[in-house]
Symmetry: C2
Subunit: 603 residues, 2 copies
Amino acid sequence: MESPIDSYLRRIHNEIARLKDGAPYSTIPAMAQVDPDSFGIALATVDGQVYEIGDSREEFTIQSISKPFTYGLALEDLGCEAVDAKVDVEPSGDSFNEISLAEGTGRPANAMINAGALTATSLIKGSGGQSSFKRILGTFSAFAGRQLSVNEKVFESELKHGHRNTALAYLLRSFDIIEDDPAPVLEDYFRQCSVLVNCFDLSIMAATLANSGRNPLTGKQVLGIGSVERVLSVMMTSGMYDDAGAWISSVGMPGKSGVAGGILAVLPGQVGLAVYSPPLDDHGTSVRGLATAQRISRDMELHFVRAARAGRSAILTAYDVTETPSGIRRSVESADVLRENGHRARVIELNGDLLFAGAESVARELSGLPDSVEVAVLDLRRTEQLSDVALRLLTALRTALAEAGCELVLVEADGSISASLAEDGGPVPSFSARSEAVEYCENRLLQHYGGQEVPDHVPVTASPALAPLGEADALALQSRMTARTYDDGEVIRRVGLRFGGVYFITSGKVSSSSPGPTSERVKLNTLSAGMTFGEMALGSSMRQETTVRAVGPVEVMLLGEDAIADLEATEPRLALALWKALTRDAYTRVEQYLRESAVRIRE
Amino acid sequence: MESPIDSYLRRIHNEIARLKDGAPYSTIPAMAQVDPDSFGIALATVDGQVYEIGDSREEFTIQSISKPFTYGLALEDLGCEAVDAKVDVEPSGDSFNEISLAEGTGRPANAMINAGALTATSLIKGSGGQSSFKRILGTFSAFAGRQLSVNEKVFESELKHGHRNTALAYLLRSFDIIEDDPAPVLEDYFRQCSVLVNCFDLSIMAATLANSGRNPLTGKQVLGIGSVERVLSVMMTSGMYDDAGAWISSVGMPGKSGVAGGILAVLPGQVGLAVYSPPLDDHGTSVRGLATAQRISRDMELHFVRAARAGRSAILTAYDVTETPSGIRRSVESADVLRENGHRARVIELNGDLLFAGAESVARELSGLPDSVEVAVLDLRRTEQLSDVALRLLTALRTALAEAGCELVLVEADGSISASLAEDGGPVPSFSARSEAVEYCENRLLQHYGGQEVPDHVPVTASPALAPLGEADALALQSRMTARTYDDGEVIRRVGLRFGGVYFITSGKVSSSSPGPTSERVKLNTLSAGMTFGEMALGSSMRQETTVRAVGPVEVMLLGEDAIADLEATEPRLALALWKALTRDAYTRVEQYLRESAVRIRE
């Protein structure tokens, strides 16, 4: 099925193709031979999906769209301060070939006008055996994700007819803004303007800027976020010359146009847009390019104000551990202690990006915890962008919580956030499953409030699953069981096995996991001494639904399938009591899952 | 516990307070009497949380920070086109009192310089018995969320000493940009500049702009999103006069400063920032205000480029209905049909904001579905911002899917999205619980591929829970049951009740719900003829965990607690078979919950 974004692009391409205003650039003879009807659009997302229509693979020279990329390379090479000393960041509101040098110093207003762009080019030096131009072309190619080349005919023609730029370069030399011979700078500049690109390339170059400098196709970090920030800031105010204000109001994205008819726009975090259509308006901007950018911005709500609308609440849900207990079987006294003190451990599940707004809401939630809370669990498994500000806030929160007598505990895939927070004050407890973090909380509460932690060893007769039975019955069942031991990591029950009896863990821990829908292994929970497994295979398919592995050395008592059959035949009363106990035990689990669903799904 | 954001603000407030550069504004005598050490900061989130430090409640006159708000009111009153005819949107790069009128027309460059601001004020007319100034003050007050007032002394002083503004107003009159008598316009303008605000107010005014025009404290929509977009666009390029470029590069938020020492910055979708400190730099901007904005932007990553970083994937998870079946008991043949054809119905769970990037990824997922998929379920319960572009894309997707022979089904709280999509092509099936949508899918597949839908009536003997028993045993159990009927909406089992037996639904449907952690009612699932309930109360607490209600007329057969006790005493073999069947049935449910957890939690 065709994506509605493709059909949308086809529709507006059709409509905007009817615009016949403007004329192709004619100052450079080699550029005059273009088809004014050529018209391509490409829209690339920050994860590298490209939607294209029309002449999106037709090549043209990049011209002034080269400026932000060379400026970015200069920033990356020399740092902001050194570049700022040569080129300011102020909008000039002038046309592209305006001279706009500061009185006295000769410093160009910004790197998007020719004077500033020439200066930026002059700052790129050869290195590592690569000429300055090789480095420029290499950067453009890294942005595009493919090796680009130069249209030599256009280059020769620009070199021959670029009188005004030649004048500008020498003027800049007179102010010592350009410090060396202007001739090779001019050559580099004209060459960079003559690099051949198509809409697809430009959309990827734009998406690389939108993606904080990382090319979405190659995954390569082409520019640091600091340089990207600077480049897009300057493009925002000065990318469209004397159209800047109207462009920001009607398109609302940093943009850049070139006289060959290309135009590029960047919505940080979302998309890169490129259009190609040679006829230009009086400002030197592609008529159809501008119309397309305005139309797509409006229809797709890409204006920076609209695109950043509110409401990303980072907190998915928050609840006391009593609401979704670990499921570990406790003694009656311990269960009472936990019921009474469960509000002292709070789980906060986060969601989405942790940029400022998200991190702030986490800070607010944690800061507002009642003094009675002693353990705060942050479940970070669903968060995607953990910004530096979020890490700094978490570090500060961790310290402040510790001072208030509350421990921070994390649930995360790989312990990396815990490691980042660990610098001061020792390691932050980190678990890969929520149930393990909850178990940790419960044990903390039991230590403080006098219940018992999970004992290392639980005899079958003390198993909560058999609690409804008297001790004599439990002993009678135990006499029908077989003892087994397993080493760390050993698989005890594998997914797909037929029912093989009920396993009572008497010592150690096991973890159960299940294949996810896309077949990664999903860890479900950890079971410890006193708990049972294996009954799951009694379900609809009569097959084991999870794989159970030993975590450390494990001892179990197995009430096998044959033992159960024999029990039913010889001691129906005890068999009845067993099945009744197992039913009850199963419903204890159903109940637990229901509780977990209830805290997650609100309607 | 103190929020780390408060302690952070205290720290930078301390540091920046040491900056002693600049001098308070002295042109207006009534404004000269200020304490140069006054220094307040307020940071407001789009949901109305305000962090303040220092002299954040000290009042000062709003001065030029009034400009974006009056401009916004003019846009709201007259629309962009009429306002644009009077005031352009181009950056002037000039200082605040620059004349900057277009040659020939006299049109001011933008509404942030005095000429443009005077023009914007002239566009506000009295209406509904309110004078023009009352309307301006009313708008400012609505932005601040409290009634603001005017410092009459400053007003009188400005009126007396504002020669340059008076000259500007008459110049604008000469060009017919101001169309009426300039005197009352000047009076309104000086009055609007003399409105008293504090940092708290300004931060809320900024947060209202950040929040798409809705005041986060009062909930009132003060300005439409179109006007907000325009105001913030102009502030982005022209809010800081000749500092615009440096401001965007180093702060990266639309901002506005006033000569009384106030400064305001807006990060769309996230925060509003306000600072007050009277000493000004050469551009008329508060020295500490600028330093604070730069510092907070850097530390909190509020620059528009950084604040919009990538990665908000809207798709939480996607799976075939076979992976999380509805849980409705089917005949063996129907179950086979569903197992074989479950891949034809796909569930896609969405998450977070559906702005362009999110909507695009949904479009991509739906467009890329294999041709074999006949029903696509979008679970929208976790999405927060459903932009117009998302609605338009969903509408287009729905049509395109229909043409490709695939039906779109929604899971959403209230059916409102379904209603929005319904315009063409009839209603879109919409359910408030995922399990209902999955049941719908299963029924569609059974219709197409020859299984049976859920029958209206299922005798106890055909209940899947009793499937392991022979017919004679099932009949023997049935003879111990009592028939009951319920009307639509009637509560059959209420949460907290003790175990009262097992209910077999023989006709109709029931829904089960449970109180959520914050005590909203959470609907868990729907059970239909053939299914059982009531056994849940066998769990740990021996109490009913859910409330079960009739959906339409319902008939059940109840195997009561007494009947079970009698059965155990008189027919232990049958009792054993019953409990064994119930255990199996319980594990079928555990299994289902496990599957659901597995598709949701990846590690």
